[in-house]
């Protein structure tokens, strides 16, 4: 009796496509997109706007006052001829496992919230479609590698940019804001030990059984019971153990560094357990006063942030490599925008969205390359501009997801994963 009355089904059945074809896409044109080998993604989020000029795209030395330029000295890297900031020492040594995308750009430079949304969704907000974040798209497309873990985990604050949008809450994330507390909903209250939990589930089972007996044909009741059993399995000891970093050797834990590093270590463990997409946020303003949003005095201690990133990122890449996971794990350093080469009146930097850098590592990509370039000043793109859809298309292709594939909103509106995103082909050859 039940018939799904959606337009997609109707189309399949009637092939009446001329009138109803969606927006164009590469896939439509039959052009093949590269298909990468990565199976999971660790997305490191430098909230606030990481200054490319002080990190991965340095230029001549500036003085923190009138003379624009990099705030630090530069050093050579494992990619011959490529220089980065002196505070990325460990990363310099492993840069051959990485790809620098030095020509990212978009038009949303004023507001952090709007730019964060744009970099996570590759779209501007719309009043007709609420777009999903890249994490939700990956979760939706690939699911988790094993049943008993969630596909998408965020270490940071829940917000609209990370949300599943039209894909619906089931493609949302489990999040934690502090390693100490673990994710809300997965960690039992501290006064509930395993024995008490078992007693609780025993009682619950009694009511469930009686309820299901009273409503033997009630599919909703039975489905509800199933879901809750699946939930308890996720919160079981196996997955919870993943959050316990003391299982790792102390030397390794130490080499990851501070809070952000420990989050990166947890990210590796989560991916190992079957999670597909882990976003790790790094915007701790206790380190330098402002986090990556280095206006004014925030610039002064920015090197401490960069050093912490360096330690965590380089260790993560080598740790993945050691676990033979690097080829199958795409590591990304992303941020909402970069910062201009010039300084503000108190020695900090403003926002710059027309040219900034993203970093990719591992994921089976042809690494050791620098894609795109900025001009001499570091304020404009000189070579191979990459839009946000291009950036997303590259990450999706690395994960074997066709960036032109159409997703459908609940009212069956076709929405391609990216709008005309072109992956960086050179990374897949």
């Amino acid at each position: 009796m039940k018939l799904n009355l959606n337009r997609r089904e109707f189309l399949k059945a009637s092939a009446a496509s001329a009138l109803t074809a969606p927006l164009a896409s590469l896939a439509d044109a039959g052009k093949a997109v590269p298909k990468g080998k990565a199976e999971a993604c660790i997305f490191l989020w430098m909230g606030g706007g990481m200054a490319q000029i002080d990190t991965f795209d340095p230029k001549g030395r500036g003085d923190g006052k009138k003379i624009p330029g990099c705030y630090y000295n530069t050093i050579g890297t494992a990619i011959p001829g490529v220089k980065i900031s002196e505070h990325l020492k460990q990363t310099a040594g492993i840069l051959d496992r990485c790809v620098l995308l030095r020509s990212l750009s978009h038009e949303q430079s004023a507001e952090h919230g709007a730019a964060t949304y744009l970099v996570h969704t590759a779209r501007k907000p719309s009043e007709t479609v609420v777009y999903p974040s890249i994490g939700s798209v990956v979760a939706h497309q690939l699911g988790s590698r094993t049943q008993a873990v969630p596909p998408y985990v965020v270490m940071g604050y829940p917000n609209i940019a990370r949300d599943p949008g039209f894909l619906g809450p089931e493609h949302g994330y489990v999040y934690l804001t502090q390693l100490e507390t673990g994710p809300n909903g997965l960690m039992r209250a501290p006064d509930v030990d395993a024995a008490r939990q078992q007693r609780r589930e025993g009682l619950l089972g009694t009511w469930q059984k009686e309820f299901e007996q009273r409503n033997p044909t009630d599919k909703a009741a039975i489905a509800q019971g199933e879901i809750s059993r699946r939930g308890f399995k996720i919160a079981g000891p196996e997955f919870m153990n993943v959050f316990d970093l003391t299982h790792e050797p102390k030397t390794l834990r130490d080499s990851y560094g501070g809070e952000f590093g420990q989050r990166c270590l947890l990210a590796r463990r989560l991916v190992q357990s079957g999670v597909r997409f882990v976003e790790v946020s790094f915007n701790l303003n206790f380190i330098n006063g402002t986090g990556w949003d280095t206006h004014n005095e925030g610039q002064r201690d920015q090197h401490k942030l960069i050093q912490e990133l360096d330690k965590a990122f380089a260790t993560l890449v080598l740790d993945l490599e050691k676990h033979k996971m690097l080829e199958k794990t795409l590591v990304v350093i992303a941020t909402e925008f970069g910062r201009p080469p010039g300084f503000d009146s108190r020695g900090g930097r403003g926002h710059q969205s027309q040219a900034f850098t993203g970093v990719l590592a591992g994921g089976g990509l042809r690494s050791g390359q620098v894609i795109g370039a900025t001009d001499e000043s570091g304020s404009k793109i000189a070579e191979m501009p990459l839009t946000m859809p291009d950036f997303h298309a590259t990450m999706h292709c690395a994960l074997g997801i066709n960036p032109h594939k159409r997703l459908y909103t609940p009212d069956d509106r076709p929405v391609p994963i990216t709008d005309y995103g072109r992956p960086v082909e050179k990374l897949f050859i």
């Binding site: 164009a24 009043e127 089931e170 804001t177 509106r413």
Partner: protein, 1092 residues
């Protein structure tokens, strides 16, 4: 009157471009196109300097023209720059003026002066963003008092016509401005420089805050005409200083709640800036009484149709009371956020300073103050406290408080404005009668709650009173509607079906199709199943044990009908409808610098409309007209769409889906591929809402990208094309005589009001049906028409029934309660649920053999959880500027939520612990996991709320689940457990509270067994109830979000929340934990989240 043709040609840019001078740096060129209405090409200018900018040239005396004699100057002008570059700065200005010497920009030597300034700056208040005519009053300063506002704004692309008639000998001019749609003129304006005589140098320019600001403009032909000598313009008498209008009788607060009390309160608005308050000569806008001199909430200001309005900011509160105290020394204590003064008799005894507006985030977290008297309530840190010791002699004294509330860049709320009095070293009392509340923590909280509740009732009272004539107009309109409807042929009812019971006409339609479908309906619900479903459907909560008992105490024949009546009258009715319309109307306020397609907050207006029981067509009319306050919960907030290139196009789609079942979403950027809508339909309706022609933004189209296939959708509009206001749904409604009787507001743009009428008129064949179908769908889990928001090509499952329901809805004067009552009373609604998703079933199979099985909505779940545990949310205030030193427009204040619909996205895109709201977040986590949307960027009729493991986990292990099951001293279950009763009674009452039914025999047995052994020894005799609650730290906000301390405080709060509420010490842990386990198991049972 001589026409100076020679001069005209000289001044025509084409002929004499070289004679123009440039002040500042600019490129000019002649465009090949004249401005509309001109015949000669226009001169276009683009300046590249910051500061003053001008094109100027002189028109000197010739044989036939004398600039010292009366003349008229006319020109056309268009803004071609970037709208965003004409920003929020006082330094973004445009001006036209004449002077006797060439000037860099306008200054005190200007004679006549017309212009526009984007924003005020401290001490220079202007008519922000409105074209002004300068009119010297007391001096030549550039300020509001010396300007006449034309009410017209700067519209890029619009061609403005200006005309200035100058009487040089009198130093007076007349001026007019028109943008083709609106015009404004004023005569008798005085020269800025107060100098009579010739001012032959014309200036066209302005100033820019940044060198790069694109304020390009085109200047058309300038006509200068000598006027006859007798064309003198009489200067008008100096305008009166803008004083508040005299209070009329109805401005006195007549709400009974505010009619009595020892403190007389008066509010004054629009006071002249900078002047000493001369309260003898101004009149209060509102006058009422309070029980004590403390103000946590003030009366809301309402428009004639009861929409919330903003008061002038600042406004002044004056409170006066007479005190009699035994002779002696007393300490007076004044607390205020901003400037206030306290007088005893005529003597000024206390003052506080004005509050400063702020904008960065680098402040420190202020120290917590220590009270100077034990237990004294400490005001929020944003307050100043001033104290003085006074001697009273036992005779009555008048005490007067004058306080300035709000101001530029400040939140216009009183905070904790208060005056207290007491003997030095003793707990003071609020100033009022000798038994006024003490200023200790508990009494203050109680006082504030009572005051809020009193004002809530008084506001409701006043809403009815101020809108008396509007209510009357709607009643007259509805009388006509009823008369017209009664004259229609009645809708034929199908005959009764043998064997299928019926309660009202609805059942005839339903039963007939069930019988025809050769299937059987489900059985009637049990009484308690019915009560749970009905209570959830009416007020969004589960029934309480007391409600269950009084329901069961009624005779069984009438208990269901009585329950329906009781619940329809419950205040929760409004709460439950607000969440629905928030989804459908995409209410999406943002509390941190809203920039993600955010609307303003119109939630409180929705709530007040349902609380006040307004006819639904009036609610929709007011929504469409979008008037009232932008930030305090009025329909004006619906107007807003941040970061959206065409807000009114978005609103056109929302309204058409909501009330006409016409989905314009697919016709937003192109013609709809599978709907009959063209993009021009969306933008014509949008232009109606805008009140004027609307241009298609280039971002509202689909571009063809090289290397990709050409899109197959059709695009018939070109970017930049202008669309006139036009109603695109003639098939549903035309502007008939009856439609023209729909009461509208006089102040909304004409075409917007016209759209409002067309949406709701009886002659709109869709409106009543679409709304009736939405109500049906809400209660049955599927509409008679699906999708409910998109009726194109949709089949109707019960065509007669939708007609019948719509007709009943109309004759009830569009009363949602009447419609709901019909549905709740039907036998069809009262049947047990079926396992069919009616929304996904095709029309011919949609038989409604029972309502679809539904699960609790996110809001029902959260509200019910906290109701049954008897706990408060404990949420932070949804606001990022607790000090109130930022404008509401940047940091909205959505208050402390009391029901789930009041939450909003916590908006921590910045990932800073200091910007988190941990308690609110813990509830938002549950809400979002169950399908509530923290960001409602688009309208939604059917939520995505499929079951997911995270839902289970948040109830089982999450902060909310842990809090609800925790037996703390604020838990209703703790009190229940302490009662002297057999363990079986405790089990039974707990089942009743959570699952709304008594337990079965075997359930009683299992639960009793689990609790029995520890129940007997549960009570700790000497333990006391902990009353003080841990509250979120209210010192943290945008102002100090970069401080390390702020981050650590919030992180600590997150950790504390994870521990759950503090367990009671009155119950022994052995029993407490067991009872918590039992509770936990019921809360996590499938039955709890299912609606019977």
């Amino acid at each position: 009157m001589a026409c100076l043709s020679a001069l005209i040609s000289l001044l025509t840019p084409l002929a004499a471009a070289a004679e123009w001078q440039i002040a500042g740096a600019a490129k000019t060129n002649l465009t090949d196109k004249p401005l509309a209405g001109d015949t000669t090409p226009a001169l276009s200018a683009r300046f590249t300097n910051a500061g003053n900018r001008a094109l100027r040239r002189a028109f000197t005396k010739t044989t036939s023209f004398d600039p010292a004699k009366p003349h008229r100057i006319e020109w056309r002008w268009r803004f071609d720059g970037k709208p965003g570059d004409f920003g929020n700065s006082f330094n973004d200005r445009i001006n036209f003026f004449s002077a006797d010497q060439p000037q860099g920009g306008s200054n005190a030597s200007s004679a006549w002066l017309i212009g526009i300034a984007a924003a005020s700056e401290p001490d220079r208040e202007v008519h922000e963003g409105k074209w002004f005519f300068f009119d010297r009053q007391d001096d030549g300063d550039f300020k509001k008092e010396n300007m006449v506002s034309t009410g017209l704004s700067l519209v890029p692309g619009a061609v403005y016509s200006f005309s200035v008639t100058v009487d040089p000998a009198a130093g007076v001019y007349s001026a007019s401005i028109s943008d083709g749609l609106k015009s404004f003129s004023e005569t008798g304006l005085r020269f800025r420089n107060d100098r009579k005589g010739s001012h032959p140098v014309l200036h066209f320019g302005g100033s820019a805050s940044n060198a790069g600001d694109d304020h390009s403009f085109s200047l058309g032909e300038i006509r200068i005409t000598q006027l006859a000598g007798d064309a003198a313009i009489a200067a008008k008498p100096a305008r009166e200083a803008k004083l508040p209008k005299p209070a009329s009788a109805n401005q006195k607060e007549t709400a009974p709640q505010l009619a009595n009390g020892p403190v007389l309160v008066q509010l004054f608005e629009d006071l002249p800036k900078g002047a000493e308050l001369d309260l003898e000569n101004v009149h209060a806008i509102t006058e009422y009484r309070e029980s004590a001199t403390a103000f946590t909430r003030l009366p809301m200001k309402y428009s004639a149709n009861a929409l919330p309005l903003d008061r002038s900011s600042p406004f002044v509160l004056l409170a006066r009371t007479e005190i009699v105290r035994p002779a002696g020394e007393y300490k007076l204590r004044l607390r205020a956020k901003g400037a206030a003064r306290l007088f005893v008799g005529d003597q000024l005894v206390l003052t506080t300073k004005p509050q400063k507006a702020a904008s960065d985030g680098h402040e420190d977290v202020p120290e917590l103050l220590k009270p100077d008297v034990v237990d004294l309530h400490i005001a929020h840190y944003s307050h100043q406290e001033a104290t003085a010791t006074v001697k009273l002699d036992g005779s009555p004294r008048t005490v007067t408080l004058v306080a300035l509330i709000g101001g530029k860049g400040l939140t216009p709320t009183p905070g904790e404005l208060s005056v207290a009095i007491g003997k030095p070293g003793e707990m003071p009392r609020l100033l009022g009668t000798p038994d006024a509340p003490l200023l200790d923590e508990a009494s203050w909280e109680y006082f504030a709650n009572v005051q809020a509740e009193r004002h809530r009732l008084a506001d409701a009272h006043r809403r009815r009173e101020v809108s008396d004539s509007v209510i009357g107009a709607w009643e007259r309109y509805h009388a006509q509607v009823r008369e017209r409807t009664r004259s229609l042929p009645p809708i034929a009812l199908p005959s009764a079906v043998a064997g299928l019971p019926e309660s009202n006409a609805i059942d005839r339609f339903i039963n007939t199709r069930i019988a025809a479908g050769k299937t059987k309906p489900t059985a009637l619900t049990e009484d308690l199943e019915f009560l749970r479903r009905l209570t959830l459907d009416t007020i969004g909560l589960v029934p309480t044990p007391d409600e269950i008992r009084s329901f069961l105490a009624e005779p069984s024949a009438t208990r269901r009908t009585r329950a329906i009546e009781r619940l329809l009258a419950h205040p929760g009715w409004a709460d439950h409808w607000v969440s629905y319309w928030q989804d459908v109307l995409a209410e999406n306020p943002g509390i941190v610098k809203a920039d993600l397609n955010n609307s303003g907050p119109f939630r409180w207006w929705l709530h007040q409309s349902f609380s006040d029981g307004l006819p639904f067509d009036r609610i929709v009319t007011e929504l469409v007209q979008m008037e009232g306050s932008l930030v305090q919960g009025a329909p004006a907030a619906f107007r807003m769409a941040s970061l959206n290139d065409a807000p009114m196009a978005a609103k056109a789609d929302v309204l058409a889906q909501a009330f006409l079942g016409e989905k314009l979403s697919c016709a937003r950027c192109h013609d709809a591929p599978d709907h009959p809508h063209k993009q021009s339909d969306t933008f014509s309706l949008a232009a109606m809402l805008e009140g004027k022609p609307l241009k298609l933004p280039s971002s509202s189209t689909v571009s063809v990208v090289e290397g990709f296939r050409k899109p197959k959708i059709t695009i018939t509009l070109k970017p930049g094309q202008s669309l006139d206001p036009h109603w695109p749904f003639e098939q549903h409604a035309k502007l008939t005589q009856l439609a023209a009787l729909v009461p509208i507001s006089a102040t909304a743009p004409a075409t917007r009001s016209q759209a409002a009428r067309l949406f709701v008129t009886l002659d709109n064949g869709r409106f009543a049906k679409v709304v009736s179908n939405r109500v049906w769908k809400r209660y049955f889990g599927g509409g008679l028409v699906e999708p409910a928001e998109d009726w194109n090509n949709a089949l109707v499952s019960h065509p007669g029934l939708i007609e019948w329901l719509a007709r009943e809805f109309i004759v009830s004067s569009y009363d949602l309660k009447a419609l709901s009552r019909l549905i709740f009373s039907s036998y069809a609604y009262q049947r047990r649920p079926v396992d069919t998703s009616w929304a996904d079933t095709r029309a011919e199979d949609r038989l409604f053999t029972g309502p679809a099985r539904r699960r609790l909505s996110a809001e029902q779940l959260v509200d019910s959880l906290f109701l049954i545990a008897g706990k408060e949310f404990g949420s932070e205030e949804l606001n990022t500027s607790p000090a109130g030193n930022r404008p509401l427009e940047t940091f909205l204040n959505l208050g402390v939520p009391r029901r789930a619909w009041e939450f909003t996205a916590t908006m921590n895109e910045r990932d800073r612990p200091s910007l988190a709201k941990p308690a609110a977040q813990s509830i938002v986590d549950v809400l979002t996991t169950y399908g509530w949307r923290q960001s409602r960027q688009n309208p939604t009729t059917t939520r995505a709320d499929a079951p997911s493991p995270m839902q289970t986990l948040l109830l089982a292990n999450g902060v909310v689940g842990t809090r609800i099951a925790r037996l703390s001293d604020d838990s209703a279950f703790t009190e229940l457990a302490l009662k002297t009763q057999p363990v079986e009674a405790l089990v039974s009452e707990t089942f009743l509270r959570v699952l709304n039914r008594p337990p079965s025999v075997s359930e009683t047995k299992s639960a009793t067994e689990y609790l029995k052994s520890s129940h007997a020894i549960r009570i700790v005799a000497d333990a006391v109830k902990q009353v003080k609650r841990v509250r979120p730290d209210d010192r943290i906000g945008w102002a100090n979000h970069l401080s390390t301390a702020a981050n650590y405080i919030r992180m600590e709060e997150e950790r504390r929340l994870r521990m759950g509420d503090e367990p009671t010490k009155r119950l022994r842990p052995e029993f407490r934990e067991r009872y918590e386990d039992f509770l936990w198991s019921l809360l996590n049972a499938s039955e709890f989240v299912l609606i019977p």
